[in-house]
Symmetry: C2
Subunit: 399 residues, 2 copies
């Protein structure tokens, strides 16, 4: 794939075809064959290199994320019954077994659907919301559409209403995170795409996006540091502690393309520029000049990072960087983004795929050697990689 590039229409068509083929002939078949649980419903994602099951426990995140992936394939690529059936299995398992007391969802359940773990935060709810919305679009199921809105409302309430989510820290260290805002943006984008402009907790999807983008720009984006912080004080100050200084470049680059995508939907050049600014700064923070690839964590002042895997190469930041550079090039035509796209594309496809059994490894050492051979777990399943292949193979910004 090394001579694929954006330079000519033929090369671009070849690149697009490559993403499509990888999605349809490698990645999706892997999960349909090995992960889908036709006995108990839902999907198992803890799969070994060859697809054999490492752990039957089910991630609630992934009943939503995989359900979204299969329904979105059905909605945007082709109306294949096997994709709708996969979406239905995830959807029904999620509805039946993943909702706990008072509508708050579990974090993990057994293969049969008995609850294993509840966590404080509410990403299970956000991922279920986008899955319900895509399923509603695919089937016209009004209950799924209503539940998507309810789940997003639960997500928003726990994430942004003071006092609803149990705090991790005592009042001496007030802080807020980038992640809840990002997930609110992408969830609102998905609900709007699949259910139209619904109103949730008193705001339309577009209004929620406006609120969240504004807060990110005001409190998390630091022009003097050329960085997008992961965590700040409630009024947007940098927290000069180990956690507060820790940047997650792949995560910030994911935020960059959520914002660029919003700019494309609205035809808003200012939002596109905000997205490319985040991309520019966080590419500079994350790209590993020595070994290639995107480093997992960096300290904003270049100090040591506490998290042990700070210099590892995980699959998903590479997926996000491939999308963001692809999108930035399409929206701006700046050749820099074509170069960056090629850099991260080539590094990723040289190191992550497993030609022996398909799909990607998830966890590489800094130098690109495989650290762990499994294809999935509670965090890795059919989401980041197929979303990237779908974004770069089909979807144009503004769908």
């Amino acid at each position: 794939m090394n001579d694929m590039h954006f330079s000519t229409p033929e090369q671009f068509a070849q690149l697009t075809a490559f993403y499509r083929t990888t999605l349809l002939e490698d990645v999706i078949p892997f999960w349909l064959k090995h992960g889908l649980d036709r006995e108990h419903g839902g999907i198992m994602t803890a799969l070994d290199r060859d697809g054999s099951v490492l752990d039957t426990d089910k991630s609630v995140w992934f009943q939503g994320r995989a359900g979204w992936t299969f329904a979105t394939l059905y909605n945007t690529v082709e109306r294949r019954p096997e994709w709708l059936e996969a979406a239905r299995l995830c959807h029904e398992f999620s509805r039946r077994h993943c909702v706990g007391p008072a509508g708050k969802m579990w974090y993990s359940v057994t293969r049969e659907g008995r609850p294993l773990r509840m966590r404080r935060y509410v990403y299970s709810e956000a991922f279920a919301a986008i899955a319900r919305a895509a399923y509603a679009k695919a089937t016209g199921d009004a209950t799924a559409a209503r539940e998507a809105v309810e789940l997003f409302a639960t997500y928003l309430r726990y994430s942004f209403e003071p006092g609803v989510m149990a705090p991790k820290f005592e009042p001496a260290r007030p802080a807020k995170g980038l992640a809840p805002l990002m997930i609110a943006i992408v969830t609102a984008q998905e609900l709007r795409a699949n259910l139209r402009e619904v109103t949730v907790s008193g705001r339309t999807c577009t209004e929620w996006i406006d609120v969240c983008v504004a807060e990110i720009e005001r409190d998390f984006l630091k022009p003097d540091l050329q960085a997008l912080m992961e965590q700040v004080t409630p009024d947007g100050q940098v927290l000069d502690h180990l956690d507060g200084r820790t940047l997650n470049p792949g995560h910030a680059i994911e935020c960059a393309w959520f914002v660029m995508h919003e700019g494309a939907v609205r035809g808003d050049a200012r939002l596109i520029r905000l997205g490319t600014t985040i991309l520019d700064w966080m590419w500079a923070r994350g790209w590993d000049d020595e070994f290639g690839g995107i480093l997992y964590f960096r300290d904003v002042f270049g100090k040591p990072v506490q998290e042990y895997w700070h210099d590892m190469k995980f699959w998903w930041p590479h997926n996000e960087a491939i999308i963001a550079t692809h999108m930035a090039w399409k929206l701006t035509g700046d050749a820099k983004y074509a170069r960056w796209h090629r850099l991260v594309h080539d590094w990723s496809f040289q190191h992550f795929p497993d030609p022996g059994f398909g799909e990607w490894y998830g966890y590489l050492h800094r130098d690109g050697t495989v650290s762990q051979r499994a294809k999935g777990n509670l965090y890795k399943g059919p989401f980041h990689l197929p979303r990237m292949l779908l974004q770069c193979g089909w979807l144009i910004p503004g769908r």
Copy 2:
């Protein structure tokens, strides 16, 4: 240090002198100079390579662990006023700022002592208990002795009384861990060594050790698998899930020497054999034949391990393996343990020390290169390394 070995009395004396010198001229001065907080009391452990402070937040674990280290040096090596003063600073900070509501201790506090985080579990209490006991021994402070007993009682209640500690998992996956039993053993050993045979929650220290060793042997030790499990069902079955299969060889080797030490204290050959059996099996699981050093996690069936740092080399498993092989050799005279001690001693001292600024790096890649240059954080401070140097430089089993 490569020609140090146990073969002759001269070589053994040289090895002992090396451990003593490293402790007294390198490790302890580093923490006294850079970590001790003479302004607010207590100790800061998040130090960069050169000792500069990376984060002023204080680990409650380390107010106890460091307090124990300094008081134990004072009690066992030499009555140096600077060590007693360091122990006092940690002791008073811990008493004043680290105890939360209902006697449960915080997990972290600010430099000034304002609470930052409470966790479900109770290792803060166990580490404070051993520190109070050592401080009581050093000073005759009866309050410290009483508090040591009370803290150990709190530890035992949260760890072993059903329903007291908030569960992490729902009832569908009942499990119990090795760590609470191990920490109970070493805490009881320390209280007995410094306060004599006190009674805590209805059992003497020795009786608590008996109960915990028996449970480890009955439920966690698996002769058919030649492994000491980290986690089992309440009746001692292997949990065939990612977490349940995960072995922590360095942790199990630490358990091995706690048990050997108990055998030495009692002159009980059966306990010594139990300890060396654990060491034998878990050395085979943990030693990295390809790169040397002790791997962090292994799956009991050789499957992939979920934790990202599974193949990294952390400082503390090496400290535990140095102690365990040293102790096993002294107690059995088996030349195998002298060979293993040399292997792990040489690998550790070739890779962890920082001749530039002193102390050890904490986090190496599998191949022994430095992953992160800091000398400490909330988990690394003056405990595992000085305890190893103290054990191998002075203390004989049975003190």
